[in-house]
């Protein structure tokens, strides 16, 4: 068959297709009835190559091979001398005992596979690293350009309106455009701080603690993210407790504020938009949690985090698999910064994420001591 260009092409395509779909070592018959062993080479769960070897008839299965070949020749409309030649060639192919065939071939292929694995592994890992780095850079760029676009567009609308009045914007619309720009300036600032602090790592200066109310931080966050949440049809609920129910805590105010801005930013970003049929909300619950501890939980409904990733998403640069599910980009810094800041306050940060109807209910909980 290899001497006929058309048949050779069909053979090659059959081999390529079987190599691409091979999941485990197995003996399979080719489209023309001969038996091969397929031996996929897998590196870290990803098939990087498949060895195909054999092209033999198996003892006791010769009739299967011949009927498969005849069916194939009929399908390809190969008749006359060409058919006779191919059938004769086929009949001269060796017949192997299946156990010998499998045993020998398996041993030989295993040796070759080991070499191919070594050759491929380094390149595979390097390519994967490159890919992850590129994706990380692209995500970060997206995280910068999106708020920039929002700021530029809102400010341009305000400027045009003030200069010409041609957009015919009401006072309310002008105020909302200014607010939208300010929110995005804050989000950009949050990203810059996250990048700066994560790059500083251990060199980050020690926190300076002072006694402040947590209420102010939560109130500022809720006011900041109310507009982007509302635009997505999400209600950002205030905590039910009043200001005087909140204790004063020893805190590094700017850092703890950044931790909660990250939590609310994620909550808005990964929430599914509300629709006419379904109301969505982000809720904040606060309570004392044992002696000298205060607990804040922020819950949202949307893209979830799978159970095996709960720990990992608190690590720098790690994003949940489902977070790319809706192709949301992200720098993967927010939660790692939350954990770091909270732990520097001798507190704890953890999350739960459970399927709830079409979305996941994800709750980020922070427990902080009253005193340092």
């Amino acid at each position: 068959m290899q001497s006929d260009p058309r048949l050779k092409e069909l053979c090659d395509s059959d081999h390529a297709s079987r190599a691409e779909h091979a999941h485990e070592k197995s003996v399979q018959s080719c489209h023309a009835g001969l038996f091969n062993m397929e031996y996929p080479i897998v590196i870290e769960g990803e098939r990087v190559a498949t060895l195909l070897c054999g092209q033999r008839k198996l003892k006791g299965k010769e009739h299967l091979s011949e009927s498969a070949l005849k069916e194939y020749l009929d399908k390809q409309e190969i008749h006359g001398d060409q058919r006779k030649t191919l059938l004769n060639a086929f009949r001269s192919v060796d017949v192997e005992d299946e156990s010998v065939f499998q045993g020998l071939l398996f041993d030989n292929l295993a040796q070759i596979a080991k070499l191919v694995y070594q050759l491929k592994k380094y390149r595979f890992l390097r390519e994967r690293q490159d890919k992850q780095r590129t994706r990380g850079v692209n995500n970060l760029v997206h995280e910068i350009l999106l708020p920039m676009q929002a700021i530029a567009s809102n400010v341009e609308n305000i400027k045009v309106e003030l200069e010409t009045g041609e957009l015919n914007l009401s006072q309310g619309e002008l105020r909302e455009a200014a607010n939208a720009a300010l929110v995005q300036v804050n989000i950009l600032g949050l990203l810059a701080e996250n990048v700066q602090k994560s790059l500083l790592g251990a060199k980050e200066p020690p926190y300076v603690f002072s006694r402040r109310g947590l209420y102010r931080i939560l109130k500022d966050c809720i006011e900041l993210f109310e507009l982007p949440a509302r635009k997505k049809g999400i209600i950002l609920r205030k905590p039910e407790k009043l200001m005087h129910d909140f204790p004063d805590l020893d805190m590094s105010f700017p850092d703890l504020s950044r931790a909660f801005r990250n939590i609310y930013h994620n909550a808005v970003k990964y929430s599914y938009a509300g629709t006419n049929e379904s109301e969505r909300w982000i809720s904040t619950e606060v309570e004392t949690a044992g002696l000298g501890l205060f607990k804040v939980s922020v819950s949202s409904y949307g893209v979830g985090i799978e159970p095996d990733e709960i720990e990992a998403v608190f690590r720098e640069g790690v994003r949940g698999r489902l977070s790319t599910d809706r192709h949301r980009t992200g720098a993967g810094l927010g939660l790692s910064e939350v954990k770091k800041i909270v732990e520097k306050h001798n507190g704890q940060a953890f999350l739960t994420s459970e399927p709830l109807n079409v979305a996941y209910k994800t709750t980020v909980t922070v427990i902080l001591p009253f005193r340092q």
């Binding site: 692209n138 999106l146 676009q149 341009e156 957009l167 635009k231 489902l322 809706r326 949301r328």
Partner: protein
């Protein structure tokens, strides 16, 4: 001219950057916004009368399925051009910077690829109105 023109804007972050379309909307152009590949595909199947498509390349698929690296914006453009055979002008508005993607967009007859970031509303309005003025009747 603009009163009856309709644009389909496919963008999952449209609530964040909606301001860029405000001048067009104030000028009477109807901007229909959808956030996912599936929503856009279903809408275009039913209604092929849009005068322009403005498409982001990084889009969610739309059924909450686990993510992959597919650029669903490119998939949508392939669908519009190769399956629906629509010749409606397409502008891509995205942050994706990739030569292979740019080349494919050219072969798919994408009119322009605009970079998100600080693209001006006025420029967007000019580009969109220029395409709409060509008055290419969409056909299937």
């Amino acid at each position: 001219m603009n009163k009856s023109k309709r644009i389909l804007w496919v963008e999952d972050d449209y609530t964040t950057i909606a301001a860029i379309m405000l001048p067009l909307e104030k000028n009477g152009i109807q901007v229909i916004k959808v956030a996912t590949y599936l929503e856009a595909k279903e809408l275009v199947e039913k209604d092929r009368s849009f005068n322009l498509f403005l498409i982001d390349l990084i889009l969610p698929y739309g059924d909450g399925k686990q993510g992959d690296d597919t650029l669903y914006g490119v998939e949508l453009i392939r669908y519009i051009r190769n399956s629906l055979h629509l010749t409606t002008p397409i502008i891509v508005f995205s942050v994706v910077y990739d030569n292979a993607v740019t080349l494919e967009l050219q072969t798919l007859g994408v009119e322009e690829k605009l970079q998100k970031g600080t693209f001006s509303n006025q420029d967007m309005r000019d580009r969109v109105e220029e395409k709409l003025c060509k008055d290419i009747a969409p056909r299937s």
